[in-house]
């Protein structure tokens, strides 16, 4: 009796979920199909912008991941993005190896750097952590310029090696970035259901209860930050690959804030559409506002304020974790 009850329940659950999956899944497939076919119609500049957009979408995902699973905000993730981008460039310049090698290397370096930052900061949360990440973003430009021998100083470095020889560079950049973006979205969806993902969500919603189940706050904070930094570095590697250059211009203090803007505009969601919206917002807006560049921070600022107000003012959504303790 009990067994058949169980079977009934899980079947009902699965079919309910798969009904839901159909709608979301179909639209997702449609989006991916459109993107796969876009190079047939799009001109060179749009293709280039989209490739950058995919890479930036990944960077936005890294910030969203930190918000969703860790409940924390970082305005310094540009540090890890730069780490990934420069890793690819330096590996190519010093070792002559292509992104095949430097992509996983960049990801590992990002994880390492994330851990080095997160471990001493494991008792920080909320605002204090945000301030610490701000310091990361501010220290970045001087590190990039100070270690000129490695980083090429103000001029930066070029990234020229092909991933797949023979195929036009523009197409390589486009499809590699798109493929990685789709794979990462799938991986994040899988992560949400994994033991570690559930543990992180619980640690964020009910830290005391999580502790009583063996999930410590330190573990949660260090883990999520390390993962998020690794993803940011991966995004950085693809950014460098897609734009074929790295230079300190791409990594000012505000780059970190812009990643947060992209994440907020995508409502901190981890789905492919949200990532695309966020990535597009921070890639295409400066491109199309190139003449009126000073309006970019204003637009971003307005977006940040408006979305934050709407998402928190309405009691319908819990968008960022509430800190009730004063």
């Amino acid at each position: 009796m009990a067994v058949s009850d169980l079977a009934q329940t899980s079947k009902a659950g699965v079919s309910a979920r798969s009904g839901h999956f159909d709608v979301a899944g179909l639209s997702m497939l449609a989006v991916v199909a459109v993107l796969l076919l876009a190079p047939l119609l799009a001109g060179g500049f749009l293709l280039y912008s989209l490739s950058l957009c995919f890479a930036n979408a990944l960077a936005v995902l890294s910030v969203s991941m930190l918000v969703r699973f860790g409940g924390e905000v970082s305005i310094g993730h540009s540090f890890f993005v730069a780490l990934g981008a420069y890793a690819v460039a330096i590996v190519e310049h010093r070792l002559g190896l292509s992104i095949v090698v430097s992509l996983p290397l960049a990801t590992l370096l990002g994880a390492g750097a994330g851990f080095v930052f997160a471990f001493p900061s494991r008792r920080l949360s909320g605002i204090y952590l945000a301030v610490a990440t701000m310091a990361l973003a501010l220290a970045l430009p001087e590190i990039l310029i100070g270690f000129e021998k490695f980083t090429g100083g103000f001029e930066g470095l070029y990234i020229a090696q092909d991933l797949i020889p023979g195929i036009p560079k523009a197409l390589q950049h486009y499809y590699v970035a798109l493929a990685v973006l789709v794979l990462v979205c799938l991986a994040l969806a899988h992560f949400r259901k994994s033991a570690q993902g559930l543990a992180l969500l619980m640690a964020q919603a009910q830290p005391r209860a999580a502790e009583a189940m063996g999930i410590t706050r330190s573990w949660a904070r260090v883990s999520i930050f390390t993962l998020s930094a690794a993803l940011a570095a991966l995004a950085g590697a693809l950014t460098g690959f897609a734009s074929s250059t790295v230079s300190p211009n791409s990594f000012t203090f505000f780059s970190g804030v812009f990643l947060l803007v992209g994440s907020v505009v995508g409502l901190n969601r981890l789905s492919l559409p949200a990532a695309l919206v966020g990535g597009a917002f921070i890639t295409l807006v400066p491109t199309y506002l190139a003449q009126a560049g000073d309006w970019v921070p204003i637009l971003y600022g307005v977006a940040l304020v408006v979305v934050t107000l709407v998402a928190n003012g309405g009691d319908l959504r819990r968008f960022l974790p509430r800190r009730v303790g004063r």
Binding site: R123, V264, T308
Partner: protein, 298 residues
């Protein structure tokens, strides 16, 4: 190196560190006041100060208007206070709901102000000096200039004034009460919003004063502001984000430390040094080096 030589080198460093530290402290005071009363870290603090400084420049140098320095400052104060009020009004719906969301909203405000400065004043790099007659004299190994004295005088006046307001006036008592236990204050019928407004306005004034005093030592541009922000933040962290005297002392410690680092190690890694200071302090002295009581840390 002889001991005398070492002292000859270090005394001026300590002195100039003290002077610049006063300014970081004043900037930090603005941050800490807003944080204490509303639990929000105001990331637009530096941008507002920058805007104010540029306004003073614009109104006094002739690019916008040609007023006296004093009138320009008064006008800039008015504008800064107005913007501070608008920022608070924008954020007020969520101040009581989520500290983190409010802080992100201040980031948005900061971005808007940054854009505004760039729009109005472009990528100008300008000099903005204090209208203080230049003279200097030596005291042993230290060279003391009129600028130094002006900074000290203003800092003492501001800190003294703030002390009087907070310790002696009703508004100050309200501020202290809200900083300790906002819920109890609400229960007693205290208007939290007016206290918040007070601290935000005070923050704007403090930020502008600090900016005006620090700009003569370098130059004013839309990009020097984030650095100043980092220095003020470091001072606030070192002093413990919830301690007003701590912010002032923290500023001086940071100023001196920065000078020593710049002279003895490497001036081009200043921000990285400050990053290290922030991480170390937050990790080992979460309540600031002065270890005052604080809520909100894990």
């Amino acid at each position: 190196m002889s001991v005398a030589g070492f002292i000859r080198d270090i005394l001026p460093l300590l002195w100039s560190g003290l002077i610049s530290g006063c300014l970081y402290g004043v900037g930090a005071l603005g941050l800490v006041m807003v944080f204490k009363s509303s639990r929000v870290v105001n990331f637009s603090h530096g941008n507002l100060a920058c805007l104010g400084a540029f306004v003073v420049y614009g109104f006094s140098s002739g690019s916008l208007l040609s007023l006296s320095w004093g009138s320009a400052v008064a006008l800039a104060l008015g504008i800064a206070c107005t913007v501070a009020v608008i920022s608070y009004v924008l954020i007020s719906p969520i101040v009581f709901k989520s500290d983190l969301a409010s802080t992100i909203a201040t980031l948005g405000v900061g971005l808007i102000l940054q854009g505004a400065v760039q729009l109005i004043f472009g990528a100008d790099i300008v000099n903005l000096d204090l209208p203080v007659p230049r003279y200097s004299f030596s005291l042993g190994a230290i060279r003391i200039s009129s600028y130094d004295l002006a900074v000290l005088a203003v800092t003492l006046a501001i800190v003294g004034g703030l002390f009087v307001i907070i310790e002696r006036t009703r508004l100050g008592v309200a501020f202290r009460a809200v900083s300790t236990n906002p819920f109890a204050c609400e229960v007693c019928g205290l208007n939290l919003r007016s206290v918040h407004l007070f601290s935000w306005l005070a923050g704007a004034v403090l930020g502008l004063v600090a900016a005006l005093l620090i700009v003569p030592t370098t130059f004013l541009s839309s990009t020097t502001v984030p650095s100043f922000m980092l220095q003020a933040f470091t001072a606030a962290v070192v002093g413990g984000f919830s301690s007003l005297p701590g912010a002032a002392v923290g500023g001086i410690l940071v100023g001196v430390a920065m000078n020593l680092f710049s002279f003895y190690v490497a001036p081009e890694f200043m921000n990285s040094f400050l990053l290290g200071v922030i991480l170390l302090t937050l990790n080992f002295f979460p309540n600031g080096l002065l270890e005052r009581a604080i809520v909100g840390r894990v």
